[in-house]
């Protein structure tokens, strides 16, 4: 008793019941029967207590949305994945938000450590709870892990190989295509150049052969005489590709250009490149003799004769070689050798044009 009234603890205790409990001293109860103030206070406590009881029994009032967090956060809260401060923030929200409280309670229920008997039974009845199945599952997971490792390794290898694969897939075929293309286009180009030179030779040779000598494989044509400023003829620039691939044709074009020295260089290069065919040797001999005609070099004539001798070893029945030998012997004033060469020539020549020219050559020899 304080100041002739009950203490607050006594009033609180009295507010929780309507009559004295068995064995409880009746002093406090008799006081509130006499004291209006204490009785009133007990009533106040009973009213507040009733409000709290209502608070528990009544569901929280519906409230406007409270910027609720994502629903998955409640698993993190219940699973202890957040820091204590973060967790408390969300729990505080849930404490005053019925919707989130429900989610938190659900998450908490899902994560409860203790299993009910029904849950134990359900888990035990699962096929995956069987030790054999668990072994199989472990092996499967091991295989999945291995497959991923292999794939990872393969991806690393593939990553490393990508440039090379791209090179193989694209660059090499592309390069090959370019090379083939270049070769084809070059071939076409060279072919075109050869054809152009050939056309020039055919055309110009048709107008008369270049000099007294006879080019290999060429049909009879009268001697057109020496070219000079007075009788300029069409001139062709001989492509290197033609010189390289068709030295005989290039030589013929050079003769028809009026450049026996150039023809000699082309044919000498061909001989150095092992093209020592009878025809090449014949034309080189012609170029050498034509040069000797200009220089009056005995040695050049001898060189020409030696080349023709080489050619004869390959083609002893080639009338053109004998014809040229006769011409050179004529230049060298070796009439007997010229006559013998012409005799050989007549044995093998069938072309009346050449035969006729040889007839004209003999009297002068």
């Amino acid at each position: 008793m304080e100041n002739g009234h009950l203490s607050i603890e006594q009033i609180e205790d009295l507010s929780l019941s309507d009559e004295p409990a068995t064995g409880e001293p009746p002093g406090a109860w008799s006081h509130i029967g006499r004291c209006e103030e204490c009785r009133s206070l007990v009533e106040e406590y009973r009213l507040v207590h009733a409000r709290f009881t209502e608070l528990v029994s009544r569901k929280p009032p519906a409230r406007a949305p409270m910027n609720c967090p994502d629903e998955n956060i409640w698993f993190d809260v219940a699973g202890g994945r957040l820091s204590p401060a973060e967790s408390l923030t969300y729990i505080q929200h849930a404490a005053t938000c019925a919707s989130c409280a429900q989610k938190l309670r659900t998450a908490n229920r899902i994560f409860e450590d203790e299993l009910s008997a029904a849950e134990e039974s359900t888990i035990n009845s699962l096929p995956s709870s069987n030790p054999d199945r668990q072994r199989e599952l472990a092996e499967m997971l091991g295989k999945v892990s291995k497959a991923q490792e292999d794939k990872k390794g393969l991806e690393v290898k593939q990553t490393l190989r990508i440039p090379w694969r791209r090179l193989l897939l694209y660059a090499i075929p592309a390069t090959a295509c370019v090379i083939v293309g270049l070769l084809v286009s070059n071939s076409i180009y060279v072919k075109g150049q050869v054809q152009e030179v050939q056309a020039f030779v055919d055309s110009e040779y048709g107008k008369g052969r270049p000099g007294d000598y006879r080019l290999a494989g060429m049909p009879y044509q009268r001697n057109r005489g020496e070219r000079g400023p007075a009788n300029l003829l069409p001139f062709i620039e001989i492509p290197k590709s033609v010189i390289r691939t068709k030295p005989l044709l290039a030589g013929e074009a050079a003769f028809l250009n009026g450049e026996p020295r150039s023809a000699k260089e082309i044919l000498e290069r061909a001989c150095r490149s092992c093209d020592t065919s009878a025809m090449t040797l014949n034309d080189l001999a012609v170029a050498t003799a034509m040069e000797a005609d200009t220089t009056r070099s005995q040695a050049d004539y001898e060189k020409a004769l030696a080349l023709l001798d080489e050619a004869l070893k390959q083609r002893p029945d080639d009338a053109a070689i004998y014809f040229n030998r006769a011409r050179i012997f004529e230049r060298l004033k070796r009439s007997e050798d010229a006559r013998k060469a012409l005799e050989q020539f007549r044995r093998f020549e069938r072309d009346p044009g050449w035969l006729a020219e040889a007839e004209r050559m003999l009297p002068s020899s």
Partner: protein, 215 residues
Amino acid sequence: MNYESMSIDELLQECAKSSQSGAWAEFIRRFHRLIASVVIRCCREWSQRSPELVEDLIQETYLKLCANNHSILANFRSEHPNSFLGYLKVVTANLACDRLRSLVPKNEQTVPLDDANNQAQTGTGQVEKMEDQAFFKKVDGILLARGSGSLEQKERAIFWLWYQQGFTAKEIASLPGIDLTPKGVESVIYRITKLIKRILIEDRGENRGKGFPAP
């Protein structure tokens, strides 16, 4: 290799690095019940009780742990001895609920009973509702006036989880960060309730200076 003697962290590293089925066998031995219990409870929340579905979700959980070169296991950082258990629970629950959400058509998804009650209550007892809101505001004002420290915040949360959200002391005690036993929770509720009652009566001007202790 003796997987049974390994700590959880060592076992996780072994599972993440090695393709040995032994490591996974030990993992299953230790955590299968936990995974299964979370899956079963998720299914129950979604009113799905098919054993096949439960099995599928359990297997999917294991496969998810293996996915992306075991990124879930590799990315796990242990913060306390049991942190992996919480991590595994969260991973399993998220997978199961996402899957159940996609499996169950929206129009078949059940509304929790409490939500239904809430919805039914709106629009009824307008006067009661206003009184409740006024009482809630008053009580919450008292709780907030106690201070903004973590202890006061925690006790306020405990108070409303108990009184307004209907959590039991056991449920509140099991929440991470509460760090109290169920008895401790009950003690907090008793103490705070007593305090609020006194303050409410004080505020009603009924205190007649009879030795009320200061709030």
